[in-house]
Symmetry: C2
Subunit: 730 residues, 2 copies
């Protein structure tokens, strides 16, 4: 029988209590390490992971060891001993280079397959005893294997005969923060910026380490810590010293530091009167800055650049191309091994169709970028809408290293107020076949670099967490962060499997909880589409803040910042004609994609109004008219939220009260907002269609005029926006 001494029993029980106490506010994300409650399962794991052997010494290995001590200590309900004696049930971690034990296992072939960041987890005889081994070619791989093993235990997987060979499919797995230096976060809904500039470098908040752990557990290997609308001060000496302190914290977790830079920095610093990338003085300025950065951060990753986009400066201001601009920077980083992420989010105000902007701008430059430039392309052609077709740049830049940019922060998904698991959105885009080099040229495969033999490719996610105790505001925004990271490692995973992992690690392994919550999550993105912009409608948001609806919006700073620009609704119908009779943006896709999207009969109905202007009476596959279908979708969206509420409310008592009540309250807000979206859009479109809302449906709660008033007067939670304090009343 397995026996515990009294002190052990006390320690063990205490860990349980302490863990529970910590867990209730969401701070620990998916690294909660709750004790296994099934006693047989616990016993099995305790035998299989009796103690830990780490040979070699490095900051990364120390991080792995610390994680095992915290993780196994919590999960297995006892303190973890680490020494170099092999026992039955030892866990041995290391690389052939730093661990003679690992070197002796002859894993060379398997290790050769998993590359510099991958790992092998396998049962093996070590010194004639059965042991579990995490082996990798680098300490970084060992750390990733450590998190993988912990995930298996967290989700109660069987370790018997375990054999895992895993390597990331995508090379650059990067999170982006849109944090301003005054600590306001653009499109951030989880508090102030995590980076406490005022007390850096002196004070390293312990939270920085937890941030690194959270990302490393997913295999994230880079972070851009400041807003793409970049404050030039980030490159000043005083800030580089602060940035270096953060880089020091992140380094043992394999997370490289990148910075967003302001293209006009040489001018804004007051050193030059130009930022022309072909000017030798400008080149020298940037070279000196790069050298300075690397003197602070020897493994600095590189720059992220938003240039000539939404008012940001760029090479166009000097009559130069994006390639000129990117290459000049890339050349200054090249000697140090850095890269430039150059954003393709460019759409000039004078173009006929914003959809076409990035493609028209960048395809002529294909092949003109340096090898250490990676073009960072948003997943869709417009801007992180709840549903977009994939950007036609994926598949159209065969000679330009390319990466994808997803948005995890819910700018268009109800901020921190609505539940919207974006796993299905990510996989929808990643799995779409671009047909760029025949069938099988999926977006995901392009990001692997395999379709076009890119030397560098990647995936970036705009995460925008903040000082809120649970990082993301809505507890379920954590799930999209989790899904992003898991898919950046392996884009072939399913959104549903990822959701289940996340639920198990974040809440509980209780199946009575997992199944309904998985249903809620898998339904949530489509619900968000339905009550906002179904059937391929897009961008009907109130201007600026993007929270509530304003389908009537027809005046703004730019035509493509209005809603009417996108829906083009009139008495004769609705939708944006992007076929050859319209903007012909559809021609930016390869056949057969362009043919399917361009054909009213074949286009998927959920993208219908993205590509076609269609009469209100158009007959849909359901047999209903477009009007009826559209109205039906809006109503369905609200019903989906109501179902989510019922499902959630039935889970009371299965998890801690704090998170349960929080989500419950937020779902109430979501229902209220969904009704407002539904009514605003249906009533507004009705003024154009002139058609009735089917009698079987509940009446709109308020008049169109009322909802129009709300656009001006309803409080919008948007702390980052200075103008938010001067909104109108009532």
């Amino acid at each position: 029988m397995f026996k515990l001494s009294l002190p052990s029993l006390i320690l063990l029980t205490c860990i349980l209590v302490a863990q529970t106490a910590f867990a209730e506010d969401g701070y620990e994300m998916w690294l909660r390490y709750q004790p296994i409650t099934d006693s047989q399962q616990l016993k099995n794991y305790q035998q299989q992971l009796s103690h830990v052997v780490v040979e070699g010494e490095s900051p990364v290995l120390s991080a792995a060891r610390a994680e095992l001590e915290a993780g196994l200590g919590g999960l297995l309900n006892r303190s973890v001993t680490t020494d170099n004696k092999i026992k039955k049930g030892s866990l041995v971690i290391g690389t052939p280079a730093n661990s003679p034990l690992i070197a002796g296992l002859k894993l060379d072939e398997r290790l050769a397959q998993v590359g510099p960041e991958g790992f092998v987890i396998t049962q093996a005889k070590v010194n004639k005893r059965n042991a579990l081994v995490i082996a990798a070619n680098t300490d970084q791989g060992v750390l990733y294997g450590t998190y993988h093993l912990l995930r298996l235990v967290q989700t109660h997987q069987d370790l018997t005969n375990l054999s895992v060979d895993s390597a990331p499919r995508i090379q650059y797995r990067v999170v982006n923060h849109w944090d301003n230096l005054n600590r306001l976060v653009e499109r951030g809904y989880g508090g102030l910026s995590l980076w406490e500039w005022g007390s850096l470098p002196e004070h390293k908040n312990p939270r920085y380490t937890d941030y690194a752990r959270i990302n490393a557990s997913l295999g994230i290997n880079g972070t851009v810590i400041n807003n793409v609308n970049a404050d030039p001060r980030i490159l000043s000496d005083q800030f580089l010293e602060k940035v270096a302190a953060l880089a020091d914290v992140f380094r043992p977790y394999g997370i490289k530091m990148y910075l967003s830079i302001n293209y006009d920095s040489p001018r804004l610093f007051g050193d030059l009167d130009t930022a022309d990338p072909l000017d030798p003085q400008v080149q020298a300025w940037w070279q000196a800055r790069a050298d300075k950065i690397y003197s602070y951060i020897p493994d600095f990753g590189g720059y992220l650049v938003k240039a000539d986009s939404e008012g940001q400066p760029g090479p166009h201001g000097y009559g130069r191309t994006h390639a000129d601009g990117a290459n000049m920077l890339a050349d200054t980083l090249k000697p140090h091994g850095g890269v430039v992420f150059w954003r393709a989010f460019v759409y000039n105000p004078d173009i006929q169709d914003r959809f076409r902007g990035a493609y028209d701008e960048f395809t002529p430059l294909d092949g003109k970028f340096r090898e250490n430039v990676i073009l960072q392309v948003k997943n869709g052609p417009i801007d992180f809408q709840p549903r977009e077709p994939f950007s036609p740049l994926f598949g159209s830049m065969p000679n330009t290293n390319t990466m994808m940019e997803f948005q995890i922060t819910q700018e268009y998904f109800g901020f921190d107020k609505h539940l919207a698991y974006q796993g299905p959105l990510f996989t929808e885009n990643l799995n779409t076949d671009t047909h760029a080099k025949g069938p099988g040229s999926t977006v995901g495969k392009i990001l692997e670099g395999k379709v076009f033999n890119y030397s560098r490719a990647g995936m970036a996610g705009v995460i925008n967490p903040g000082t809120d105790r649970n990082w993301t505001g809505h507890p379920f925004v954590q799930s999209s962060w989790y899904a992003f990271g898991r898919l950046a490692w392996d884009h072939t995973l399913s959104a549903e499997d990822i959701a289940e992992e996340w639920i198990r690690m974040t809440f509980t392994n209780n199946p009575a909880f997992i199944e309904p919550v998985k249903e809620i999550m898998m339904e949530s993105r489509e619900a968000g589409v339905n009550y906002r912009n179904p059937l391929g409608l897009t961008h009907l948001y109130a201007q600026g803040h993007h929270y509530g609806p304003a389908p009537w919006l027809d005046q703004s700073g730019r035509a493509d910042w209005t809603a009417t620009y996108y829906h083009r609704a009139s008495k004769d119908g609705i939708g944006f004609d992007r076929t050859s009779t319209g903007s012909n943006a559809v021609a930016q896709y390869h056949p057969p994609v362009r043919d399917v999207y361009g054909d009213l009969k074949r286009v998927p109905e959920d993208l219908l109004l993205w590509f076609h202007h269609v009469p209100w009476t158009h007959q849909m596959k359901s047999g209903k008219t477009l009007w009826e279908e559209l109205v039906g979708k809006y109503y369905e969206g609200v019903e989906q939220v109501r179902t989510m509420q019922k499902q959630w409310d039935a889970l009371e008592g299965m998890i801690d009260e704090a998170r349960f009540e929080h989500v419950k309250a937020l779902l109430k807000i979501q229902e209220r907002d969904a009704i407002r979206w539904r009514d605003s859009c249906v009533l507004y479109f009705q003024t154009l269609s002139g058609l009735p809302i089917p009698a079987a449906l509940e009446k709109p709660q308020q008049s169109l005029e009322h909802y129009k008033t709300l656009e001006r007067t309803h409080y919008v939670p948007e702390p980052w926006h200075p103008a938010s304090s001067s909104r109108a009343l009532r």
Copy 2:
């Protein structure tokens, strides 16, 4: 012998661990309830507080019971049982009205003395058994007594023969928040506003309850939750619904809800084209709003008003007086029992001496305010400077209810970066004798309402905590909050005793820690004075943010927003002549105060330059010249910080690492800033005095020009300020 069963032992140890886990980030403030570690002491308390008897039912009593369960559960390391059976060592709490046990104790005389909010704690025979009793006239008094008893245990006081009769000396004990509705906090350095407007009223963050507990534990009985620079939307229906949800959370803790209002609301709501207080339409508008507020919050406390001050609208705009403005509002609240806190922080740009502003404005109106108006006067005549003489309005408004406003948030004390315990500042002002009605007319006594027989009087503290995990940014800002609350209850307490209580509750009862930390705290305010503005200098801050030094500042929006306005330094000397040869502000004090302050020979040297313009060669009591003394003070300030650092660093290991390292890092920043202050001021004043820095002192680290550059380029942590993102570079 006292014996524990195994389950009890486990539970007990677990509480210890869980408490420790929670405690390390400062979230629990002084309500940490750490287990008593001395076993004899623990045993004594366990016997003296064996279980809890609460007769009667009310939300306030439930709050008291919950606090005892949490508090004694933690402190005594075991779960607390509550039922109505008297045992040996029972703690019986209640009022004669709701508890027959209490009613039977014949405490009537003692209870009569402690009034509606006070309490009696006493050993008594209850049902023939020795019990400890917390008795009060109201449930609110019971709650205050509960916190008092917990404090005694937290600070390890002996309960044998305990007999306490306590009542607040000051009636209105109110905290003020300067929170904007977009959640940015003006002069707040602890994160975003605590009030999550976007998810209220649906979601009541559990933190709201902890906020109420923290304040109630000090006896705070009111809170003004929004900025005095008030967004009119706070009075809209949508916000009142949110405010009411907060009021519901605060009510069981005896904390009344007050709101800052914008005087022009009737106009800004678009309902009227005037806000003239004598216009019947305006009166009707405010009456309707008041009725509406009370329909949401039946026990609403009233308004705080900043009118005709720093650009805020007010009655002057309509040719009316402050009394006209305040009385109109007071009349609309009167039927509901509400009050108006009317701020006296008024200084017109055209006056000769800002010092004189409030007095000149308000003394002519003495006696003209309604009974339910209370004039809220800042402690000093200028604006929360590290040292100010008391405001001459204290003692000059015999017929106007008056309260004091202190600032806890460190606008002028280094934000969340510098350690500055303000207990000594508060007591310095409170204990000063105004001589308004002869000797003994201290400021504190005026606030008791006793000098002038005010029907209402009080103390307000601007606290500005935020979403930072530890509420206040710098852990030691908590101590000033604590001191404010304790002094509002009893202004005769000493700053040192309060510091000790706070240290014991917040960190540890270990004397080896208490003594040096108490020294640090007691020294810290004077250190802050010395390195910023010794000998009665004041307001030498960089414009706007008030963090770093700019004694050279001579241009600004207003003359009294420059530094030169205050120090008046020139070749001939330094200081503001406020005697009869100058602005004669000193005449606003009663004799003999005016005579002492006005007499160069008698004025306390730490107020010298507040009242006198003095030659650089003036001989000080020390025998040094003014110049030497001034330079010496600046250098002393830096040395004090260095001593604080050494003292703190020696405490490593006595408390949790997280808070230890945080404070240590902040003290490094404070030393850096103190040097910058010292050098900036000494080098700048030297350009005028032409005198040498004594050779024995260390040389300034940088040139004056360098420090002037820093004013523009050095990063200032000021998230609330939108302009902070456009500061110059390097």
